[in-house]
């Protein structure tokens, strides 16, 4: 019997070797139809009560946002607390905060795709949705910060009535291009990823309306390999395009600060520091959203402790990079010969109006994630959830620290002023949370929250040689026994 075992059959598939077996990405040997049923079921069945409990206040808060915006446009930006010398108040703090959150979605969908991190498949759809909704929230702020909202078309590259064009050398204009490109490319990436899953929804639809709408957006997808091969190439190309894009977007956002000559802003470390911070804050938001979603909809077999562990590690890594940047900023202001820079950081950490914000930021962003060095803490979902929310808060404080502290005490004492947000700004910020959550809950209600086709593709039996290997293994075991 043992003669039948040929050389080729000794060549065991790497994943079959015991001892180095990887943790499976989908637990409990779930079948493909189980995956389809579980994910589509979320959309097809009635939403749990908690969905409504979250949705109604979110929509009300989003309504508050609408109200504050109408009030703002009809009255003027004077209803905000920002003025000279702090012209960029919460509006720009919140813009940078929201746009940063978006970055984790693109990192998961693009960079982890290029680096062949298969665990991304369970979280990429929801994170990409989070990206889009965060960018929507972000876009509101600079749009309305221009003051006269009806003039917002001045941002677009068209000449005004005096035939004057935009200043293409301005980082604010780069920002317009970067953010709008980022939003558009993220929508395209998300939609192309959705097409096969929309086809699944279409083929399962029982009501006419569902069949029509899912069918409309599935574009008649037939899942043939003659479609898949181009689809995969398209997806790969989008991942390759989005990777430098996501790095560029927050770099450009940081240029808004770094290319100015304001002490505290004018530093070359800003682009990498902003990008790392964006990924850091974004992963925290992904965890904040996905931990409850996973529990609520019974997705524990697809979003496993392994996924959460990986994301906690990324938070630890990027949080440490951010910590390095904070310390390096302080070191350079001490080591450099620029006394204005030294003074700016003195105000920031020791004697300014906002030193409390600096220490909040430092604790939340640098100290708190260090707990993730311990595997046990990364496995404890409550710890992960709490730290993720520390990071959410910390990243908001980071932007707050950067903006008002650097400009509230200008070169001359006559230009010194204290900035605090008005009540309208506070409600507006809460309102964007309402908008963000409403959009995310609607996404949960109407679209598959996990990329169905991609999760199927990482099952062991999806490998076209899986059953060949199984057969070889079975024969070899029989040979050993015989």
């Amino acid at each position: 019997m043992s003669q039948t075992v040929t050389n080729a059959e000794h060549n065991v598939h790497p994943s079959d070797q015991e001892g180095i077996a990887r943790e499976p990405l989908v637990l409990n040997n779930r079948s493909m139809s189980w995956i389809t049923n579980r994910i589509c079921g979320i959309v097809e069945n009635r939403q749990p009560l908690i969905w409504w409990i979250l949705f109604v206040p979110s929509v009300l808060l989003a309504g508050v946002l609408g109200f504050t915006l109408v009030y703002l446009v009809s009255t003027g930006v004077g209803i905000w607390g920002n003025n000279q010398p702090v012209a960029w108040g919460w509006a720009i703090v919140n813009f940078v905060f929201w746009i940063g959150i978006g970055h984790a979605g693109t990192l998961i969908s693009a960079i982890l795709f290029l680096t062949r991190q298969k665990w991304r498949t369970s979280v990429n759809r929801a994170s990409e949705a989070m990206t889009l909704f965060a960018v929507v929230c972000a876009g509101i702020y600079p749009g309305f910060h221009v003051g006269r909202f009806w003039m917002v078309w001045f941002l677009a590259p068209v000449p005004n009535a005096n035939a004057i064009w935009q200043n293409f050398k301005s980082p604010l204009l780069w920002d317009v291009f970067a953010v709008s490109t980022y939003f558009t490319v993220s929508v395209i990436f998300w939609y192309i990823g959705l097409i096969p899953d929309l086809a699944t929804m279409r083929d399962r639809a029982v009501t006419k309306v569902r069949k029509f709408l899912y069918g409309l957006f599935a574009l008649g997808w037939r899942g043939g390999n003659r479609q898949w091969r181009h689809y995969e190439m398209g997806y790969l190309l989008l991942a390759a395009l989005s990777t430098p894009l996501v790095l560029s977007v927050h770099s450009v956002v940081s240029f808004d600060f770094a290319t100015s000559i304001v002490p505290g802003w004018h530093t070359t470390i800003f682009p990498p520091y902003f990008v790392a911070g964006a990924v850091f804050g974004g992963f925290a938001m992904v965890l904040t959203l996905m931990l409850p979603v996973r529990k609520l909809y019974g997705l524990e077999d697809m979003i496993t402790p392994k996924h959460i562990d990986n994301m906690a590690k990324i938070i630890l890594l990027t949080g440490t990079i951010v910590g390095y940047a904070y310390i390096m900023e302080l070191f350079i202001s001490y080591y450099g010969a620029n006394k204005f820079e030294k003074d700016a950081f003195h105000l920031r950490i020791l004697s300014g109006h906002y030193t409390w914000a600096y220490f909040c930021m430092f604790f939340c962003n640098v100290i708190s994630p260090q707990i993730f060095w311990f595997a046990k803490m990364r496995k404890n979902l409550w710890v992960v959830f709490i730290i993720a929310n520390f990071v959410n808060a910390g990243m908001w404080f980071e932007r707050f620290v950067i903006i008002p502290t650097s400009v509230s005490m200008d070169f001359l004492p006559g230009q010194w002023g204290f900035y605090s947000p008005s009540i309208v700004e506070k409600w507006m910020f809460l309102g964007t949370f309402g908008l963000f959550l409403s959009l995310f809950l609607l996404f949960l209600r109407f679209l598959p929250v996990i990329a169905i086709s991609e999760v199927k593709g990482v099952l062991p039996e999806s490998d076209p040689h899986h059953h060949d290997w199984e057969e070889i293994k079975a024969r070899r075991n029989a040979a050993h026994r015989g």
């Binding site: 293409f168 291009f177 490109t181 069918g215 390999n225 003659r226 091969r229």
Partner: protein, 187 residues
């Protein structure tokens, strides 16, 4: 399996296979048999299927290169034409010339990416011939399994090698679990 209404020539035979491995080997057989208009429909892209079907690399990347180049040139034209010849805006003492060229890089980069992404979307739709909301295959209940857990092989009747009896027998021989003949929509 044994229905014998062979009178009209169907649009295609839809055959279901047990799993990805079986489908992969079946695709190799169909390829070797010399069929031209056929495809495998799977819930996810099966790795190596291009090889099993005898298909080459996707040429979508060529379209995207063209799109990206268009984006780059558009940004170049938009910035230099408006800033140098149409209405030079010299603010903060920064003219538009060779020494200030790095200031134009971000927009060049962003528009290259933007146009490339659009060409991925529209190029992909053109190459895979979508949207096409109606298709004879949607008449088949068996075919619909492709979006759940079905491994489906479709051989259209518009093959020179197609004949109703022979092709059905061939599909059975290569291991099809279920076979269904799909009719074209009555016009």
């Amino acid at each position: 399996m044994s229905d014998t209404k062979t009178s009209p020539i169907p649009f295609a035979f839809v055959a279901e296979f047990e799993n990805a491995t079986e489908l992969y080997h079946a695709a190799e057989h169909v390829r070797d048999e010399g069929f031209k208009r056929w495809d495998v429909h799977t819930p996810y892209p099966v790795h190596g299927m291009d090889h099993a079907m005898g298909l080459g690399k996707s040429w979508l990347s060529a379209l995207v290169l063209a799109g990206g180049t268009t984006g780059f040139l558009t940004a170049l034209f938009l910035q230099f034409f408006t800033q140098i010849s149409l209405y030079p805006t010299i603010v903060q003492g920064k003219p538009a010339n060779l020494s200030t060229i790095p200031a134009f890089f971000p927009v060049l980069f962003e528009l290259t990416i933007l146009f490339s992404a659009f060409s991925v979307l529209f190029g992909l739709l053109i190459v895979i011939m979508l949207p096409r909301w109606n298709h004879p295959l949607f008449n088949s209940e068996l075919f619909k399994k492709f979006s759940d857990d079905g491994f489906i092989l479709v051989i259209e009747s518009r093959n020179r090698k197609f004949d109703v009896e022979g092709t059905r027998a061939f599909l059975e021989k290569i291991g099809a679990k279920r076979i269904e003949a799909v009719e074209e929509d009555p016009v």
